[in-house]
């Protein structure tokens, strides 16, 4: 249950961050609808944000491992 709660918290935090960051990157001037180029930008932005999250996670954990071996 604790495990699940953390997984849910991580997912929600990730969702919130993606919405914030991609809104900032892709919607420069909010207009009356989300046009197709904005949608395309959000889709790419979202994939890149998750790539970055995974890369940060990998880099950070390999660093922690290196430091614990010293």
């Amino acid at each position: 249950q604790v495990k699940q709660q953390i997984a849910i918290a991580t997912a929600q935090e990730l969702l919130t961050k993606i919405s914030e960051k991609c809104f900032k990157k892709c919607i420069i001037k909010p207009s009356s609808s989300l046009d197709s180029s904005e949608q395309k930008c959000i889709a790419m932005c979202m994939d890149r944000y998750m790539d970055s999250w995974n890369l940060v996670s990998k880099t950070y954990s390999s660093r922690l491992q290196k430091e614990s071996m010293r």
Partner: protein, 79 residues
């Protein structure tokens, strides 16, 4: 059950107001230039569009995550 329902409604209100604070913060930075003696219609449109597009963005992100199920694979990392 009445107390429970009351607390549930109040919790929802609190969540709602938290989101209103966050959206006002963000849309203020995007839409407000120099504060003037009243909220002009340009700024007004910008703010209501900003709120609606932000919700569109969140919905788009959630729907796309559910569709591609990248979500599932990304949350597998926790193990």
């Amino acid at each position: 059950p009445q107390l429970q329902q009351f607390l549930q409604i109040e919790t929802q209100k609190q969540r709602f107001q938290g989101l209103v604070h966050g959206l006002t913060d963000q849309c203020w930075d995007i839409c407000m230039e120099k504060p003037s003696s009243r909220l002009d219609s340009k700024t007004e449109h910008c703010i209501s569009n900003c709120v609606d597009r932000f919700i569109d963005t969140s919905n788009f992100v959630v729907n796309r995550l559910e569709k591609t199920q990248q979500f599932a694979s990304s949350s597998e990392l926790d193990d």
